[in-house]
């Protein structure tokens, strides 16, 4: 019966693999923004100054944004998986933390006007643009924690595990308010 359970889950997993067709995105970050200095203890720069101009091709811009988030998610999963291990692969974890910190630094430039739900497929809610100050504050929170995460991953496993949860909480805090829960991929 154990076999049965495993067989069932294996079949499910295969089915999943078959429908997870989207290929990983090439790393084409959105318009450059100052990347937060890695281990800096002071709050990382907040991209409030310029919300930016509407891009020429909003749909392509939004696709790139989505691809960037997917890559962010992949890097985050590397840490999530490792956070469950007694002895995490600290090299992999450090590399992922640097990447996450980079993305956190750029994220402020990913939401120029005209790239919201009115322009095409996105999970970003319209309030990203109407409650910008709060959105930016939540982003600043992430930038603070992501910078600490870089430091923690170059310290030791215990520091990494503690700081990983704190960082993930900032992802969630923003998603709860600004990201659509629907699965309208």
């Amino acid at each position: 019966m154990k076999m049965k359970l495993f067989a069932a889950t294996a079949v499910l997993a295969l089915g999943l693999a078959a429908c997870g067709g989207e290929t990983p995105a090439p790393e084409t970050p959105a318009p450059e923004a100052p990347v937060a200095e890695a281990p800096a203890p002071e709050p990382a720069p907040v991209a409030t100054a310029s919300i930016g101009e509407t891009p020429a091709d909003p749909v392509a811009f939004m696709k790139t944004r989505h691809d960037n988030y997917e890559d962010l998610g992949k890097n985050f999963k590397v840490m999530l998986d490792n956070s469950k291990l007694g002895t995490p692969d600290m090299a992999a974890v450090s590399a992922a933390a640097v990447k996450v910190n980079e993305y956190a630094g750029q994220m402020g430039t990913w939401f120029p006007p005209g790239t919201g739900p009115e322009a095409g497929k996105t999970k970003a809610k319209a309030n990203v643009w109407t409650e910008r100050a709060d959105f930016d504050a939540k982003l600043a929170d992430l930038q603070t924690e992501a910078a600490k995460l870089v430091t923690a991953t170059s310290t030791d496993a215990a520091a990494f595990k503690a700081q990983f949860g704190a960082t993930g909480g900032k992802c969630k805090a923003c998603h709860d308010v600004y990201r659509e829960e629907d699965k309208d991929k």
């Binding site: 359970l5 997993a13 429908c19 469950k84």
Partner: protein, 236 residues
């Protein structure tokens, strides 16, 4: 009435017929509680509780599948899973007024039992590999699959729940149908294990006892499976 056999059975020394053994009943009511609890914890974001509630369901399902081969006759798949012919002739009998409740699952009800068990297996199967977008919550087996697969598992986990809800709705509707339209209370026996042995289908004494070691072996397999699911990924 001409039904002498029925009348004589009612004077029999054993007025009760044992239909469901304790493990089947315990698994059933734990499933009812834990499926509801899993739903509630997911809605409330109590993911630590969700995780352990789900893993307990995994153990219950492993045990129930094993019991379908090792348990008493009313628990065995080979006894209650029937072909389309038996299901049709049962349905015809069901609509007659002199219908007698089946000993164990009837051929039609068996479909629902199997469907619910499969839906539960799919539900927990997806949950084990799922991870959420915040990258905070994940099933114990998600480290074995890529980011994309575990995201899709999360989506399917959410959608499978709708299917499960439909099946549970049908299940409860069927039980209410027997109660109201056929005046047969199936719930009582699922709680106490026995029913009044009057004019019923099946052996009068009911199910035969199963050796304790078979039960203990099933519990051991269930616990070991859950333990492996939790422990193996931490050793990669």
């Amino acid at each position: 009435m001409t039904d002498d056999t029925v009348a004589s059975t009612s004077r029999a020394p054993t007025p009760k017929q044992k239909v469901w053994d304790a493990p089947v009943r315990l698994v059933h009511w734990m499933l009812v509680f834990l499926v509801a609890f899993s739903w509630w914890t997911a809605e409330e974001g109590e993911m630590q509780w969700h995780y352990w509630s789900g893993l307990t369901i995994v153990g219950l399902l492993v045990f129930r599948v094993y019991w379908g081969f090792a348990g008493p006759e009313t628990a065995r798949f080979s006894r209650f899973v029937k072909g389309p012919g038996a299901i049709l002739s049962y349905t015809a009998k069901l609509l007659k007024p002199d219908y007698r409740a089946t000993f164990g699952h009837n051929p039609l009800g068996a479909l629902s039992v199997i469907a619910i068990l499969l839906a539960l297996i799919a539900q927990v199967g997806f949950g084990l590999f799922a991870s959420d977008t915040d990258g905070l919550e994940s099933g114990p087996l998600s480290p074995y699959v890529s980011y994309e697969v575990s995201q899709d598992a999360g989506d399917l986990h959410e959608e499978a729940f709708n299917i499960l809800l439909i099946l549970i709705g049908l299940h409860i509707a069927a039980i209410v149908f027997y109660l109201v339209a056929k005046r047969i209370n199936l719930i009582g026996p699922m709680i106490t294990g026995s029913r009044k042995a009057e004019g019923l289908d099946g052996p009068r004494s009911g199910i035969a006892p199963v050796p304790a070691w078979r039960f203990l072996l099933g519990v051991a397999i269930a616990v070991a499976t859950v333990f492996l699911i939790v422990w193996l990924p931490t050793t990669r």
